[in-house]
Amino acid sequence: MIYRMRFAFLGLLAASLAACAGPPPPTYNTDAFKGIYNQNSAVVPADQPVSVQHPVGIILSDNFEIWFKALKEANDYWSARIPSSLTNTAVIADNDPAFLAGRVLQDLKSHFPEAQEIKDFQTAVASGKKAVVLVDINPQIGQRTPVTNKFDITYYFFDAKMNPVSRLTGHGEHYAPYASITSGTQDCIEQALAQLDQKMKVAVR
């Protein structure tokens, strides 16, 4: 996936290895609630004003799990084939799972300082959460350059009765020119979070 870019950069090596098929790209859930909440996330109204009671629980959707696994598999795959001296550490850092998870948590905690990451709604109810923010992602990181990579982050707000009441989406894009060494994922994430921040200022009370 993202490691194709290192081949473009490395000239002869790229030519010899680009033909190698990397791990297949992951398939993301179109329903952000899949495996978490028995309702289709598409029916949740967008950009609706919402009153968030505290304390807040944060649930990361299964698409986070899929994305993190895909990154790990790609790392494992290519590290078995590429000498460490040729590893594109920039693209690995750019797609560091800790960056995405950390920035999302940072962003939400800036609004809800006592918010906690939790596994599921049962945990939310059991731990007395009065609101839940379910976070979903939709990464569209291209395999070849030039490409415009995209990354959507969506916050689904659940009220104290654990009913979804609103969703806010942030979108980020980054153009990676031919032979670019990174995918601009961090850039996309920051853009998406900035958009979300703006929307939260308006919609979240």
């Binding site: 950069f9 490395l10 000239g11 609630f33 899949k34 495996g35 978490i36 909440y37 028995n38 309702q39 109204p45 609706q48 004003p49 919402v50 009153s51 009671q53 990361l60 299964d62 986070f64 799990e65 993190f68 696994k69 790990k72 001296s85 040729l86 594109n88 550490t89 920039a90 693209v91 690995i92 850092a93 750019d94 560091d96 799972p97 800790a98 960056f99 998870a101 950390g102 948590l105 940072q106 905690k109 906690q116 990451e117 596994k119 599921d120 709604f121 049962q122 109810v125 059991a126 007395g128 009220d159 104290a160 009765k161 654990m162 009913n163 009441v165 060494i181 990174t182 961090q186 009370r205």
Partner: protein, 440 residues
């Protein structure tokens, strides 16, 4: 004017060739100054065929002077009759104009009275003229014309008053369309209330709290579950709306009482049904009643019951059917949970990731690649030079042959690197120009 022409024609029909004179007197209607000469039907007979006005007047006098059978009173003059019709019609029109040009109810009422009086006069004058007609056809025609005149006046009145209403409506300051009533509650929206997707605040009956809703063409199709204090701007719009709509305020108060009664009745029914279904272990039914109860704000019992249940550990409730059993979240647990539990370490990891993808890091990767490329070039150069050195044995033999022929010896390579070889004659590689083959 058309009417005037028609009347003249009718008069001609009944041998009253009345060429109507200009109205030289004018009736004051509705205390409005009216320029009679400008509005009277002067020249109405223009275009009428012969006989001329003088001839017709003479003819009418003669006819009227002739003795009639029966005991009818002596007929009035044709001129007088036609004038009275004309005057009545003109007065009616002026009164109508006066009534429709004022918004003052008193003036309008006076003008309308004058209009009705003129209509009566027109009716009477027309009937009198019809009575004086010396043929049945003339009589009928005059009555027909009276009906036409009245119809035309009625039509004109309708048009004028409709125009007046429209002008008044246009001049009236319009209410903002973002505030209105939906059901028994006032909505303050960010767009027209009856728009396709209006974000609104539903003002609760307590007058202070608001619930966010989405209205679609005047119907609420989504409602936030929590009420929050209304903003001062929304409250101001609500007050302004009620000030403009006293009837809505009254309706709101009345409906508020009705609503409370309805809610109470509904709450009782739903709670009873809910308990019954819960006892019967009817999951879907209980769920439906639960939702109904929620839609009524919990009826004052739901929240308590839920709190009680939560206090009991929720064991009795069983799993919430909305909540799915989460599958494997190994990666999230590895990545996000530590980040959540240790924000400082998380921030450090974020900084490291940023640094790893920074322009400096990318430059380092490029530098590394260039270094590797040079190393590769060096390796390839050595391979070539080694081959070159291997050929030196052959060169030595050649040198021996040359020595035999007193030729200068060929220098032999002692050691090589990417830039060339140090040879037996003491020469080294040329450092000023190089390529990976070491041949320069």
């Amino acid at each position: 004017m058309v009417k005037w022409v028609s009347l003249a024609a009718a008069a001609a029909l009944i041998a009253w060739p009345a060429a109507f004179a200009h109205a030289d007197t004018c009736y004051e209607t509705a205390q409005v100054n009216i320029d009679c000469s400008a509005k009277s039907g002067g020249g109405a007979a223009a275009g009428k065929p012969a006989p001329s006005r003088t001839e017709l007047r003479e003819l009418l006098r003669k006819r009227l002077a002739e003795p009639k059978t029966g005991d009818k009173p002596p007929p009035v003059s044709a001129e007088a009759l036609s004038k009275s019709i004309h005057d009545a019609e003109a007065r009616a029109k002026r009164a109508l104009a006066a009534a429709s040009s004022t918004a003052d109810p008193a003036r309008q009422d006076k003008a309308l009275k004058a209009y009705n009086a003129a209509l009566k006069d027109l009716d009477k004058a027309s009937d009198t003229a019809a009575e004086e007609a010396d043929t049945d056809a003339g009589h009928d025609r005059l009555l027909e014309m009276k009906a036409e005149a009245e119809e035309q006046l009625a039509r004109e009145a309708n048009e004028r008053f409709a125009a007046q209403r429209a002008a008044a409506e246009a001049a009236r300051p319009h209410d903002p369309d973002n505030v209105g009533m939906i059901g028994d509650k006032i909505m303050v929206c960010d767009a027209p209330v009856d728009g396709d997707h209006a974000n609104c605040r539903e003002m609760q009956h307590d007058g202070n709290s608001c619930v966010a809703v989405i209205a679609f063409q005047g119907e609420v199709n989504w409602r936030d579950s929590t009420a929050t204090p209304c903003s001062s701007a929304d409250l101001a719009q609500r007050t302004a709306f009620l000030a403009r709509h006293a009837d809505e305020e009254a309706r709101l108060k009345n409906r508020q009482a009705d609503f409370a009664l309805d809610t109470t009745a509904n709450c009782k029914a739903i709670i009873a049904d809910y308990v019954k279904k819960a006892e019967a272990q009817d999951g879907p039914g209980a769920r439906a009643d639960y939702e109904k109860l929620r839609s009524f704000g919990g009826c004052g019992v739901l929240e308590k019951a839920e709190a009680e249940l939560q206090a009991q550990g929720g064991a009795a409730a069983g799993p919430d059917p909305r909540f799915a059993t989460r599958g494997d979240t190994t990666m999230i647990d590895q990545v996000a949970v530590p980040c959540d539990q240790n924000p400082a370490a998380c921030a450090q990891a974020i900084d490291e990731a940023r640094a790893g993808a920074s322009p400096a890091a990318i430059a380092a990767i490029y530098a590394n690649a260039i270094g590797i490329g040079l190393e590769l070039g060096g390796m390839m150069g050595n391979a070539v030079l080694n081959a070159q050195a291997a050929n030196m044995a052959h060169a030595a033999a050649l040198n021996n042959a040359r020595a035999a022929r007193a030729l200068p010896p060929m220098p032999r390579a002692i050691s090589c690197n990417v830039r060339g070889c140090v040879t037996t004659n003491g020469l080294g590689p040329n450092n000023n120009a190089s390529d990976i083959t070491g041949t320069k």
